[in-house]
Assembly symmetry: C2
Homo-oligomer: 135 residues x 2
């Protein structure tokens, strides 16, 4: 993955901060929060500001290379994978997993009344790892 090129082709000037933040998002698929991103990167970029993380993620979202995962009321997570997929959060370990889904299988009724542009599917429950450990 050529991050500089990816940013450039999406009209984002590839500054050091932007490259590092996108690289972090792409490599860390657990859908991190702003705080996690900041905490993990500040040792690498000592001058990094949390405002920059907010600004940069907003820029990524506006330019379509990042999306938000709001599976929980009180935390916004970020995702660099733009292919359509669903999310599962285990309420035991707190991990958020990607779920493959065939959107063509989704059959809604009365959908002729709406023009759907974006679909978010959020599942919650227990992951197998937690189910096994608990028993």
């Amino acid at each position: 993955m050529d991050f500089v090129n990816h940013l450039s082709t999406n009209n984002i000037k590839p500054s050091l901060q932007r490259i590092k933040i996108f690289e972090y998002l792409y490599d860390n698929r657990e859908h991190p929060t702003v705080d996690t991103i900041y905490s993990d990167l500040v040792s690498d970029i000592p001058t990094l500001s949390k405002t920059t993380v907010y600004n940069t993620l907003k820029l990524f979202i506006d330019n379509g290379i990042t999306s938000t995962v709001t599976i929980e009321d009180n935390e916004v997570r970020y995702d660099a994978i733009m292919e359509e997929h669903a999310h599962f959060k285990c309420d035991a370990c707190g991990n958020v997993y990607d779920i493959e889904i065939d959107m063509s299988d989704l059959k809604f009724k009365k959908m002729n009344a709406f023009k759907v542009e974006k679909t978010n599917i959020y599942l919650k429950g227990k992951c197998n790892k937690c189910l096994i450990t608990k028993n």
Copy 2:
């Protein structure tokens, strides 16, 4: 709909505030926010406190007679309809609509790795009313 009975059978003592708040939620299906609920009810119950609205909604959720709709990052909405359904938000008019969905049609891959207990489906786009008006 007998609200007093509904609260009682769900282990919620039916105080005036609780009855009015649930009644409001049940009658106003547009998925209101805490602020909307408070603003609309305070004329009816002049002593009402916003803290009570928060407390009461949390109580409803804990006892399974209300759920949250977090289709947008920055606003929590509430819903007294507990039958499984999806939500659509029109980004033109801002309305949040209920969508009937047959959950049995949902086919996820690799779902053997998870025990799903709750499913939230959020759709966004334009409602027909807004599409027609714009053209």
